[in-house]
């Protein structure tokens, strides 16, 4: 069996490197002399990084509370590897305790239901069971799905039978059951063994979380069917005219490696779902399967919309700070998948944006005792970068990669892609070396975000 770095990968959960390196002043929040209080809403890659770096860079002068509805974060990064049993859900479950122990972040479990006030903000949890006050609110709630007829009904939604598995840790049975990713795995594994099984999946409309993700999933599922179910059929129903990212890689996988399994259907806009018969009705025809995996089109996380921070589906932000550009919404920052910054919606990128945001908030606080606006410092803006790097499993032990760096453009006040930095693997499009590197990458990304 090909070697896998999973053991190394799991080792990271006991890593204590960060603890020993962290000065004691920021490990605990002594109530002495805070210059500001920040509440971070949502503990995914964006929120956890923001909370950590506000403490790390804030010299113990910023009181930071991280609020998440769950006691830990289940990563979407690597989650397709749950489907073919390369990883277990515990491997991608990331606790918040290291953020408390190593950096003195206060972690509160709860759902933020409202934020009121302007210069001092009152954050309400669970409709009022608890209230917290702060000066700045960082919103990192991830995504919300846009309704599709048939997928939701008056009793809630049908995601318990038609899994999206696109918010990997979201739980079935009103939050009491298994995760979405485990549900999809269960359905995949229950497919017929005679090679006649049909797996139907839909690609969301751009921009969506993890651009290569749906195509990656199609490959992982096709590989699983090929090796375990005597083959089968995977319909990839894509509303776009063509594969949106790593085109050569996925085209080569779909038309070569998995030519007898994957049927790629472009321009297939999802119109309606018949949950009981696992049927997707699209502009290119009607498709039924043993498994129906609808990944609905996204919009900003619910709280962002509730607070009036969206224009269309996403939150407009100033990329120098990720503060809302809506006129009366100063002190609200939106990082990660919920904003409209034009950068890819990915865990790696969410981490990148969070660091820019944390730096900007510290500069905003410092600007109060300075005559200049330190956020817009020319030297800072000239060196303002974010980047994204990621790997996609294509077979059981091979993966592809994707790279992009974004730089601040003064004339557009936007983060723009540095074109030469953009690239993906070819010759070969996928390899075992990339698969190994994927675990080094995720290990480091998880560590940099949650420890």
């Amino acid at each position: 069996m090909p070697k896998i770095n999973r053991r190394n990968f799991i080792k990271l959960s006991s890593a204590t490197a960060a603890l020993t390196a962290t000065p004691s002043i920021i490990r605990a929040q002594e109530a002495s002399s805070f210059e500001a209080r920040v509440i971070v809403v949502g503990g995914g890659f964006a929120g956890a990084t923001a909370a950590k770096y506000l403490r790390l860079w804030g010299q113990g002068k910023i009181h930071v509370t991280l609020v998440d509805k769950n006691p830990n974060h289940v990563s979407c990064v690597l989650s397709n590897l749950i489907l073919n049993d390369r990883l277990q859900i515990d491997d991608i479950t990331l606790p918040y305790t290291p953020l408390e122990d190593n950096y003195g972040v206060i972690v509160e479990q709860g759902l933020v239901t409202s934020v009121t006030g302007s210069s001092v903000k009152t954050v309400e949890l669970n409709g009022g069971t608890k209230t917290l006050t702060c000066d700045y609110v960082v919103l990192a709630p991830g995504i919300e799905f846009i309704d599709i007829p048939g997928l939701k009904d008056e009793n809630g939604n049908n995601f318990d039978t038609i899994p999206h598995a696109w918010i990997s840790g979201e739980r079935t049975n009103s939050g009491q059951g298994q995760t979405q990713t485990e549900l999809l795995r269960e359905q995949l594994h229950a497919m017929p063994n005679n090679g006649n099984g049909v797996f139907v999946m839909t690609v969301p409309q751009s921009p969506y979380r993890c651009p290569p993700g749906p195509y990656e999933r199609a490959c992982v599922v096709a590989d699983y069917l090929k090796n375990n179910k005597g083959g089968g059929t995977v319909y990839v129903l894509d509303p776009h005219a063509d594969i949106t990212i790593e085109r050569e890689t996925f085209k080569s996988a779909f038309e070569g490696l998995y030519a007898d399994i994957i049927i790629y259907v472009p321009n297939a806009e999802l119109i309606e779902v018949k949950a009981s018969s696992r049927t997707a009705i699209t502009s290119e025809g009607t498709f039924s399967g043993d498994v129906l995996n609808v990944i609905p089109t996204h919009k900003a996380g619910k709280i962002v919309e509730t607070l009036g921070l969206t224009v269309g589906n996403w939150a407009p932000v100033d990329v120098r700070s990720y503060e809302s550009t809506i006129s009366d919404k100063s002190g609200f920052y939106i990082i990660g998948d919920s904003n409209n910054s034009g950068q890819p919606k990915s865990g790696h990128m969410a981490n990148a944006q969070a660091k820019v945001c944390a730096d900007a908030i510290i500069r905003t606080i410092a600007s109060k005792s300075s005559s200049t606006n330190l956020v817009n410092d020319a030297n800072r803006l000239a060196n303002l970068k974010t980047n994204s790097a990621c790997y996609s499993p294509i077979t059981y032990d091979e993966a592809s990669w994707l790279s992009a760096v974004f730089a601040y453009d003064t004339t557009k006040n936007a983060m723009t892609l540095v074109s030469e930095s953009f690239g993906s693997s070819n010759e070969p499009h996928w390899s075992n070396d990339n698969f190994e590197d994927m675990f080094e990458w995720s290990r480091s990304l998880f560590s940099n975000t949650f420890r």
Binding site: A17, A21, A366, N379, N383, V405, V418, S425, E440, W441
Partner: protein, 162 residues
């Protein structure tokens, strides 16, 4: 008498901390190069102190980091880091090389106070060092060989683990 002796250093220490808290009062911003360098840590660890299989950057010499980044910047090889390197200007590569070469090898971010003191010297350093670059170009080949050796060792360690 004995108790008095024991208390005295404690009191002095308390006074020292109290004074320290008055001196270091207002929040300080982190230098732009440190924020830029933090964009490397998704893969290379905090302050370049990698805990994955990717290269450690902290405590590497300025020349090692600069030469390798520039080589990747100029390379037409289709590799992930060769693309990432092209996201930065030569001046930024110099600043990053200076920054990471100044980070301690074993620790991560030892003290935020130290970092703020370095702030002003960092930009100067990066300008100084740029003039030395040309001299070191012939060292490149040697360095490359060393790296290959290191990689081989790492591979062996991996096998042992499995």
């Amino acid at each position: 008498m004995k108790t008095k002796c024991k208390l005295k250093p404690a009191l002095l220490f308390g006074l020292f901390i109290y004074q320290l808290s008055i001196i270091v009062q207002a929040i300080e911003v982190i230098p732009p190069v440190q924020a830029m360098a933090a964009q490397c840590s998704q893969c290379h660890g905090m302050e370049g102190n990698s805990d994955s299989g990717f290269d450690k950057l902290n405590g590497e010499s300025y020349d090692e980091i600069y030469d390798e980044m520039l080589e990747m910047f100029d390379s037409s090889d289709n590799e992930l880091m060769e693309h990432q390197a092209k996201g930065y200007t030569e001046e930024q590569i110099q600043a990053l090389a200076t920054y990471f070469s100044e980070q301690a090898r074993t620790g991560g971010n030892d003290s935020s106070d130290d970092d703020s003191e370095q702030k002003d010297s960092e930009t100067e350093d990066s300008e100084h060092k740029s003039s030395e670059d040309e001299e070191d170009e012939n060292k490149e080949e040697e360095d490359e060989e060393d790296e290959e050796d290191e990689e081989d060792e790492e591979d062996e360690e991996d096998k042992d683990d499995d």
